[in-house]
């Protein structure tokens, strides 16, 4: 699963909907893989306003990446600076969690990730 997807996922448990601690999910025992995906600058520029930068910083630190700048880059900066674009592409699109767990900060529910597929099936009492 891409780090991009992790930036959008929240806990699926009903009781966590109202809690701010249920986002972002925290990766645990994560095995990372670097994939080769073609750079798509337009897509990243389109996505940039929707990415929660503070959540992304948290995730990056938890996964052991170097700390991100405090402020998200603006679309103009991205278009001008190819290195920034490449770094972002590397983090968001090419880095994939293959094995591990995603843990909700509110209820502590662990979503298993196997072969890159996160299991979000819930027992019926949590729906």
């Amino acid at each position: 699963m891409k780090i991009l997807s992790l930036n959008f996922l929240t806990c699926a448990v009903k009781a966590c909907k109202s809690s701010s601690a249920s986002y972002p999910l925290h990766p645990k025992d994560a095995e990372l893989v670097q994939d080769d995906i073609e750079l798509n600058p337009q897509l990243l520029v389109n996505l940039m306003p929707r990415i929660d930068w503070s959540a992304l910083s948290t995730t990056a630190t938890e996964l052991g990446f170097p700390a991100l700048p405090a402020q998200p880059p603006t679309p103009e900066e991205l278009e001008a600076d190819e290195q920034k674009l490449k770094d972002l592409h590397n983090l968001l699109m090419q880095t994939q969690i293959m094995e591990g767990k995603l843990v909700c900060g509110n209820c502590g529910h662990e979503y298993a990730v196997r072969e890159g597929i996160a299991n979000f099936l819930l027992p019926s009492h949590l729906v």
Binding site: L9, L43, R50
Partner: protein
Amino acid sequence: MSRPEDTLSADIHYNDTEARKYTTSSRIQNIQASMTHRALELLDLSSPSLILDVGCGSGLSGEILSSIPPEEGGPHVWIGMDVSASMLDIALQRDVEGDLMLADIGQGVPFRAGTFDAAVSISAIQWLCNAESSEISPAGRLSRFFNGLYASLKRGGRAVCQFYPKNDEQKKMITGAAVKAGFGAGLLEDDPETKNVKVYLVLTAGAGSTSDITGVVKGMDGVDVLDPRRKREAGKGDIKKGSKAWIVKKKEQMERKGKVVKATSKYTGRKRRIAF
């Protein structure tokens, strides 16, 4: 043709053999491809977008989303949800580009608000109308799905869900659930009244460039718009108070309440002749 939806739930029906059969059948591949292209046409995306593929299965539709050339606004990035582990296994073997998740859409859509530009669903949401245990109901599953989908789409985003309704009742139930969740909803039928009829539920979330759902198909060739809403709106002001139609309507209302109402005849609503 038999409907697998009637006998089993999706995660049990699509076991390893069924999933393989489904994915390798060239007939199904062709149908899926043409439906995905039709859905993309309805979504009308002009630049690379983040798309949710609901019931992505083995990634037949997702493959097409990733392969849209740049001049047509692609390639799109997609995240797929499916409840069948066997289907996802085949998707892994086929090495699809999108992200996959094992999740039941009837349990909701676990993404934060405004995540996706658009959503597609090919032959999936009719599975929501089944309930395998007494704890869950089709209505509950439908409402959780549509509420979750509405929240996870950005305002002005669109969703196109192709599905196989069992009957008109099911069509109404699904559309009703979507409208209740806040969507502007419309049904597009390709090849109506034939064996190959394809039903697309077209949804718009929040105010966008096209405020009315009929705006989605504006400018498309060979689309007839049937709008039952208009009739209702027009009908309201038409009936004059005291006219025969008004009296008949009132009588029907009373009858529905269980009151005793005289039968309607040719004399209903007529003025009495002045006796003298």
